[in-house]
Chain length 334, copies 2
C-alpha cells in the first residue's frame, strides 16, 4: 500500500510542461504508485494542468468497479474495508482505496484509524490507498472525488473502494459516485436501523451486518428484512438488496460479500443500470468542475475594483442593490 | 412588539402588482407593523418583486443605527437585548430587533427563549421583533439579513438590534453588518476569554460583561483589559474599546451601555469609519444578491437537458469532463 501525505504539496501547484503531463499520465496508467499519487495530488490541489490531464485520462477510462462503503462510526468500517481488500487480493484483483475524511469536527479523524489498520497491506503493490479531506463539499465527499476515481480507474485498478464515515449526507454522496454501495450496520449501535429508515434503503445495494457473532446481529438482519419487505417501491425493483453477515475481526463472510458485489455488477450490466450510474458519476464530475469554476469567478469578482465601486454607490444611495448586482452579474458572466 | 411566524407564507410568493408593491413600501415606511412584517417575509422568501421593492427602499434609506449583539449561549444575551430595548424606549427611540436563528443543530432553538423574554414589549408599538432562520449562509447570518436591515431602517426605526448566538463565524458576520458590535461575556462560562482571544478583539466595538454581580466578573474585566492592552494593533486604533458591566436581571448598567454606543456612533461619524461600515454592509448585500442569482442559474443548469447530454458524452468517453464543463459554463454565462 502506498500512502502520501497531503501536506507540503505547494510545489505541485506549479504548472507542468505538456511533455511532463504526458509522461506522468503514461506512468500512472501503468499503475506506477508514485505517478498515481502525484496525479491525485494534482487533482486535489486543482492544478491548472487538470484539463490537460483529464483529456489524456478520458482516452484511457479503465474498467474499475467503484464500491462505496459507508456506515456510522463504530460499525467496523475500517476492518471491513481491510478484509474486503484482502478478499479482492486473494482473487488477484488490484484494489485502490479512496478514504474521504469529513472535515467536520464531529467526525474528524474517524478515518485516521483506518489508515493504520490498512498497514497490513503495506508491502502489497496491488493495493493503493489514499485519503482526501472532504472540506464539506458535496455532502461529505470532496469535490475532487469524481476525478480521483477517474485517475484510479485509468491506473488499472479492478476495484476502487470509496470509503466514508456515514455522517450527514455522505452516504448519499458516496452512492452517487459508486457502482455498488455497501451500507454497514452492526448490532448494539442503536442508531443502525434508525439511520436505515432515514434513507439508507434508497442508497444501499448490499447491506452488510458486521459483528455477526454479537448478540443482536440476527435482530438487525430481521429488522432490515422487514424494512426491505415494507419498501413501497419494492415491486418495481429488479435488484433485491441482499443482506450479508460478516465478522471483520475473524475475517468471516467476505467470500459471500464479494459474491454479492459480483451479482450486483452483473445486474448493472444486464439492466443498463450500470450505464445510468456512470452517467450519474459524470454528472457529479461536471457539477464539481462547473461549480469550482463559478466559485473562482465569484471570488475574483469580490476582490475586484468593480465590486467596491458598486458597493460604494449602493452605500451612498446612488444606486439600488439589485441594479448594481445585475451589472456585477453581467461582468461575471462576460 | 409584533411577531410574525415564518410558516404558511407560500401565498406571498406570488408576484405583486406594481401598485401593491408601492403601497406596501409606503405603509412600511410609516412604520406600519404589518407592512414591515410582510416586506420582511418577501425579503426572506426571495420574492421576484425584490428588485422593485429594493429600488423603492433605496430612495428612503432611513437613519437606523445597527447594533450587533453577539455572545455565547449562557451569557444572558436575550435578557440583555430586552434591557437594551427598554433603555432605548425610555429615551423615546423606536427599536427593531432582528434575531438570527442559526439552523445548526448545535445551537438550534437557542434564540427561541429570547422571543418569550421579549414579550414584555408586546404592547409597545415602538418595538418590532422578527427572527429569521440563517440556513447556514454567511457564517450564521441569513443571506437576507442585509436587505432585512434595509427594510427596518426604511421603516424609521432609530436603532436596529441584530442579535445572534455566538457560534462559529456568526460574530464576524454580524460585525460585518453592524455599525456598533457588542460582544457579551459573563463570568463562570470559562470559554469567555478563550473565545475573545480567538478573534473577538477584532470584532468588538464594546465589550459587555453581564452578570456583573457574580464572583469572577471583575476577573473577566481584568482579563479583557489585559487583552486590549496587549493588542499589537492598539497604537493605530483611534477607538478605545470600552468595557461595560451590566446586570441584566436587575436592569443595571444599560444607561452606561447606551452612552458607550452613543460615543461609538460619534466616533463613526467623526472618523469616516461609519461610511466604511456602510460600504461593508453594502458589499455584503451585493454579495448575497449576486451569489443567490448565480446559485439559481447553477440549479437551472443542473436540471437542464444540456447538462444530461454532456454528462452522457462524458460517461461514454466521447468528451472529456473539462471540455464539457467549459461548454456548460459558456451556456451558464450567456
Amino acid at each position: 500500500v502506498t500512502q502520501v501525505q497531503s501536506s507540503g504539496r505547494a510545489a505541485l501547484r506549479r504548472s507542468l510542461r505538456t511533455a511532463d503531463v504526458g509522461r506522468l499520465v503514461d506512468d500512472a496508467c501503468t499503475g506506477e504508485a508514485r505517478a498515481v499519487s502525484r496525479l491525485l495530488s494534482l487533482v486535489e490541489d486543482g492544478t491548472p494542468d487538470l484539463p490537460k490531464i483529464m483529456a489524456l485520462l478520458t482516452a484511457r477510462p479503465g474498467h474499475a468497479h467503484v464500491v462505496g462503503l459507508t456506515g456510522s462510526p463504530g460499525v467496523g468500517k475500517s476492518t471491513s474495508a481491510s478484509n474486503l481488500v484482502a478478499a479482492c487480493r486473494s482473487r488477484g484483483l488490484r484494489v485502490g482505496v479512496l478514504a474521504v475524511d469529513p472535515s467536520s469536527p464531529l467526525s474528524g479523524g474517524a478515518l485516521l484509524g483506518d489508515r493504520i489498520r490498512m498497514q497490513e497491506h503495506t508491502d502489497d503493490d496491488g493495493v493503493f490507498m489514499r485519503s482526501m479531506a472532504s472540506r464539506g463539499h458535496l455532502g461529505g465527499v470532496s469535490r475532487a472525488t469524481p476525478q480521483a476515481l477517474r485517475v484510479l480507474s485509468a491506473a488499472g485498478f479492478d476495484v476502487v473502494l470509496l470509503e466514508t464515515v456515514g455522517v450527514g449526507q455522505s452516504e448519499v454522496a458516496v452512492a452517487g459516485l459508486a457502482d455498488t454501495t455497501l451500507v454497514l450496520l452492526a448490532p448494539g449501535l442503536g442508531d443502525g436501523i434508525q439511520a436505515a429508515k432515514a434513507g439508507l434503503l434508497e442508497v444501499a445495494d448490499v447491506f452488510v451486518v458486521n459483528k455477526a457473532d454479537r448478540p443482536g446481529a440476527d435482530q438487525v438482519v430481521r429488522e432490515l428484512r422487514n424494512m426491505l419487505a415494507m419498501d413501497p417501491a419494492r415491486r418495481e425493483r429488479v435488484w433485491r438488496t441482499p443482506i450479508v453477515k460478516t465478522n471483520a475481526v475473524d475475517h468471516e463472510g467476505y467470500g459471500e460479500l464479494l459474491e454479492a458485489i459480483d451479482r450486483h455488477s452483473g445486474h448493472l450490466r444486464a439492466t443498463g443500470e450500470g450505464e445510468r450510474r456512470r452517467i450519474r458519476r459524470a454528472e457529479a464530475e461536471l457539477d464539481a468542475i462547473v461549480t469550482s469554476a463559478v466559485d473562482r469567478r465569484l471570488a475574483r469578482l469580490r476582490a475586484g475594483e468593480d465590486f467596491s465601486r458598486h458597493a460604494s454607490a449602493v452605500a451612498t444611495g446612488n444606486c439600488d442593490a439589485y441594479s448594481a448586482a445585475e451589472r456585477l452579474l453581467d461582468s461575471l458572466l462576460r
